[in-house]
Symmetry: C2
Subunit: 356 residues, 2 copies
DNA sequence: GTTAGCACTCGTTGAACAAGAGTGCCAGAA
DNA sequence: TTCTGGCACTCTTGTTCAACGAGTGCTAAC
């Protein structure tokens, strides 16, 4: 919707160039950009007065503002949006950076959660900002195997493995003592019957079989738990969100005000911002940029997010993104997130290729 | 060592009382405490001049300092230590607070990790400070069950369950295609042979059997992974540390200075501070108080930690603690941590009682 | 359409100053 | 001895004021 408005904005090439300079200069210095500064540091072949006239026009269009009279200009959210949509050219990441990133993934054999944590950490260090990542999740998880173990007389542990290798566990409390042999027998029968089935398929199966199958007293509870655990594996927002590098973001001068920091930290600590973000990313392809106020979540208003899906097309996907102040080097962020999401997809592809 | 020094400190009852007032007043107001303030707000039956003389003595002993001439006094780390050791009386938590805390644990049936997260969260909210918690870990984990699953042609997933219900997983990469039937057979044999064995017992067993047992090509790798996974379950510092309520700690005025905040956040983000803390808590019983500089970890210098072990005596224990500024309400923290560690122990006890 | 020039605004800096907080110390009282 | 009133001294905090400088908007000329 905002994009449409932007398309209508008619400005001259020079004004466009000036806007670009203001964004880049402000991003790197964090200080309002003055007309003089522009003509001195960039080869604009006009005087500062002309630049001032153009800046007045850009301000009229709502792309830049001045914090107070007698200060330079800073971009508005809208100005950043225009920059991101029309002005910046996210080039490929330099080769040595690419190598540096790849190198960190080749080091060790990691379990999936560690792998995602590592991704967040690498991204965070590369862009010098906070990063978030979620583990890849299938939209459709099929039962690979589950196990039923008696931990104590009244406690059962259920461990479930999905066909893509995801593992969940749940503790169940039972009234009556459970015999391990009985449990193992039940697990064996169910594993044979349900192997490769999805959550809903299992539900259907149980509705048909419940009456006839002789599976013992635990079966109803086990089946119920089974479907709920499988279902949970499929819901992308139920997974863990890993974030790293909060300290980077707090180095930025816009968070010097003590109240601001707490906002951000509370934002990171409570998970629901992420789940709304994850659900809103459901259909999107490519690197998405969410600038300041555009973010639905309140409190995130002073932040921008550059985020992309990675994974195997339609089969299992996770998210990877940068969170930083609105005054963010978007070009670099987009390049890095783009490269890394591609890299993660490749690694995932390699891991699951020739799957049986 | 510091305790010995403190025992030698000889001060009058009144000086002791004044130190107590200074600590409590400073903890609640965060401002240096003046002599006048003491005689006005507390029933000290002497004049401010007398209090000043006592304060001079307390300063000579290194228990309090003044930030600058013409300011009131604030406690030193040593002063806090004296207060904690000799002056405060951590009373039991008020009954309604106890009920409030208990209530939050009775709500839902949770898996263990969630349970620990909840503990950190409840503690954090109760003391209005940051809290950390680790999941209970056994010093001796015995193999309950493990499973070997072919996720793709080149990837094996190993899922291991300890006798206390802990679950770990690891992905293994193999060169040759693995057949699920073969893997299941191997897992079945090994489960039968190794059930109830510890990491070292398995290692011994394998050393004896390696030559004679006909277990196929995967056996060496599987055995190696098995012992390493079990061993990892036993190492208390290898578990996740959950922390909550960072924002509370940053509300404190001592973290207003922008640099301070980042220190703390970096501290929380990197795990090694916690592992040194965990290992240093190995032998300790009861609620431990670590004040500022006493902490071995640098950077934690401006923080105090009130921490206790919980769990089943010698069988499985975790940690639960409060992290806050040195200017912390120690009495309340100690009461709360004491109560909550007892509560967690009871809950754990109930869960594992009558264990088979 | 562009530019030089200039008046105007407003934030920043630093000095000077007053007010206030709190102490240390001393001489005298209990 | 131990305590207290009194007082000088120090240091922080807040305020005012002026000077400065940065940057703009406008106008008149190119």
């Amino acid at each position: 919707m905002l994009m449409d408005q932007l398309a209508e904005i008619k400005i001259t090439d020079r004004q466009r160039a000036i806007l670009g300079i203001i964004v880049e200069e402000y991003v790197s210095t964090a200080r309002p950009v003055a007309s003089e500064q522009i003509v001195n540091n960039y080869r604009v072949n006009v005087s500062s007065a002309t630049v001032r006239n153009d800046m007045a026009e850009l301000e009229r269009l709502g792309l830049i503002v001045q914090p107070h009279t007698s200060a330079g200009r800073i971009p508005t959210d809208r100005g950043y949006r225009y920059f991101v949509s029309n002005l910046m050219h996210p080039s490929a990441l330099p080769l040595d950076e690419q190598r540096k990133i790849r190198h960190q993934f080749h080091q060790v054999e990691l379990d999936e959660d560690e792998w995602v944590k590592l991704a967040a950490s690498v991204l965070s260090r590369t862009v010098h900002s906070a990063a978030v990542a979620t583990a890849p999740r299938s939209t459709e998880v099929r039962l690979k195997h589950f196990e039923l173990l008696a931990i104590s007389d009244t406690r059962l542990l259920m461990v479930l493995v999905g066909d893509e290798g995801s593992v969940t566990q749940q503790m169940l409390t039972v009234d009556e003592a459970a015999d391990q042999a009985e449990l193992s027998a039940l697990a064996l029968k169910l594993n044979n019957a349900l192997d490769g089935k999805t959550s809903t398929e299992i539900q259907d199966w149980w509705e048909r079989e419940e009456k006839t199958a002789q599976l013992g007293e635990f079966a109803p509870m086990v089946l119920k738990t089974l479907t709920s655990m499988l279902g949970k594996l499929e819901r992308p927002e139920s997974g863990n969100v890993y974030h790293e590098g909060l300290s980077h973001i707090l180095e930025q001068p816009e968070f010097r005000l003590p109240g601001r920091m707490q906002q951000i930290i509370e934002l990171f600590e409570q998970g629901d911002v992420w789940s709304t973000l994850i659900t809103s990313m459901a259909g999107r392809e490519g690197v998405q940029v969410i600038i300041g106020e555009e973010g639905t979540a309140e409190g995130i208003a002073s932040c921008s997010v550059v985020i992309a899906r990675y994974g195997l097309e339609d089969r299992m996907t996770g998210l990877l993104g940068v969170v930083g102040p609105v005054r963010m080097p978007y070009s670099r962020s987009v390049s890095t997130v783009g490269y890394m999401s591609q890299l993660l997809s490749d690694l995932l592809q390699r891991a699951y290729t020739r799957e049986g």
